[in-house]
Amino acid sequence: MSRERLIRRYGAAERINHWIVAVCFVLLALSGLALFYPAFFWLTGVFGTPQLARIVHPFVGVVMFLGFFRQFFRYWHHNFITRDDIRWMTSVKTVLLGGEVGDTGKYNGGQKGMFWLMTGCMLVLVISGIVIWRPYFAPAFPIPVIRVALLLHAWTALILIAGIIVHVYAALWVKGTMRAMIEGVVSEAWARKHHPRWYREKMQEAGHTEGGAPARQGKP
């Protein structure tokens, strides 16, 4: 255990930022599903009462959007999709069987795709959410516009929920990944296997060449 070498992947600010967004997402998804599925109406209870859920949901949505907005500017430059990423996406079968595809950097094709999917969903959700927000903004919009916003809001939220299921599953499936977002570190083996190019960059940054023993990075 003492020999385990770790690489810092996410700083404390990044982790806190991520979990604020994540907690908001869970609250929003549950209360949103409550309004979408009559059989799940009881889930409005996450905010106390149905009326409170209607009142609080949009405010939590704004917090989530601001949190996500901050994350977007942390990570967007890591998420340009390259030819390698396309190859990753088209080799999804290999990936699902536990294989690695390409010389992956900080993020693989799937993670980059998820990043842009989430970004798109967040934008649609915040805009449509404002249009349907009663009593503050909805009265300013014509009813046909509100109808479209309601449809888009539900539709996009469901896509995002499905996306987050994939996101969470991927983190649970690839062992050692949760640690990156909880403790901020990953094992060297994890980095070498899943993100070899990123691993080499980290090693170079730390001033080590192949074969040298890299210093433990980040706080334990």
Binding site: L158, I165, Y169, W173, S187
Partner: protein
């Protein structure tokens, strides 16, 4: 607040059958004969009086319409339209309010169980204590009728005086109408009466006179006799073919089963993938051995 009711046809956001032991109840209807309405607004006053509503005293905006629009405190308003037909000015006056659709868009859109009820007699009623103030009913309504009260964030509209009808009385507006332009009874009786009125109007030069009971919403429990039934828009934009918006149908219909299948499939796929393929581990020791 809600009375024990065993004659409920539909209940908002409720997947199972509500109590329907008294489904034999006769469908009722209010018939508004626009051609004999004099625009006196007695119905507006009677509505406020019976339902104990107190709208703010507004301002005259230069036309007869007053209040200028439906509000949470004004469940019916007279709409005045000046049109030129057959070379003469016609002053068309329509009493606006909830149409009590057989297929209510408000009820379809409402996410709160029991906040909107459709009784076996056809009345669509808001149960305000269950209303959460989301305004979905406003989006669902093809007639732009429900209004949210700023004080309590709850939606309101005409109840067709469900309390009066329950005890065998006609709605307050019907009771008060001085010309008999508003009638109330079984829907069949009202249609028969309307047919007589339409016949008479046709003999008096209104060849396009007819009954407004739009099929797109399954018919309504508030119907109009119009002189120009071919052009209902003349009457302050009364929709020609009202129906629940296809956008609302998509949202409340098709999207639900699709989403259920999609979400369930992604969760099940994840579960069986984990069971089938097993976790994806990066083993530190493997690598150490490789190097050794």
């Amino acid at each position: 607040m809600s009375l024990q009711s065993q004659d409920i046809l539909r209940r908002s956001a409720s997947p199972t059958q509500p109590p329907i032991a008294r489904e034999h109840k006769v469908e009722v209807a209010k018939l508004i004969d626009v051609t004999t309405c004099i625009g006196c607004k007695a119905c507006q006053v009677a509505c406020s009086e019976w339902n104990d509503l107190r709208d703010e005293v507004g301002e005259n905006v230069g036309v007869y319409d007053n209040p200028a629009d439906l509000t949470a405190q004004s469940w019916t308003v007279m709409r005045y339209s000046e049109v030129e037909e057959n070379g003469k000015l016609e002053w068309l006056i329509r009493k606006d309010g909830c149409m009590h659709c057989a297929e209510p868009g408000c009820l379809k859109a409402c996410p709160s169980p029991g906040a909107i009820i459709q009784y076996a007699n056809g009345i669509v009623d808001f149960q305000s204590e269950h209303c959460i103030g989301c305004g979905y009913c406003i989006s669902g309504c093809p007639f732009n009728v429900p209004r949210i009260n700023a004080k309590d964030n709850k939606a309101y509209k005409c109840t067709l005086c469900s309390d009066r009808v329950t005890v065998g009385q006609e709605p307050a507006c019907v009771k008060t109408c001085p010309t008999g332009a508003i009638r109330f009874g079984s829907k069949d009786d009202m249609k028969a009466y309307a047919a007589d009125r339409v016949e008479e109007l046709k003999t008096r030069g209104y060849a396009q006179a007819g009954l407004y009971d739009p099929e797109g919403v399954g018919g309504t429990h508030v119907m109009y006799v119009l002189h120009h039934a071919d052009r209902p828009q003349l009457y302050h934009g009364l929709p020609e073919k009202p129906a629940i918006s296809p956008v609302v149908r998509l949202w409340k219909g098709f999207l639900k089963p699709l989403a259920t299948v999609g979400l369930a499939a992604s969760v099940l796929f994840g579960f069986f993938h984990y069971i089938g393929v097993g976790p994806n581990r990066a083993d530190e020791t493997d690598h150490e051995e490789d190097k050794a």
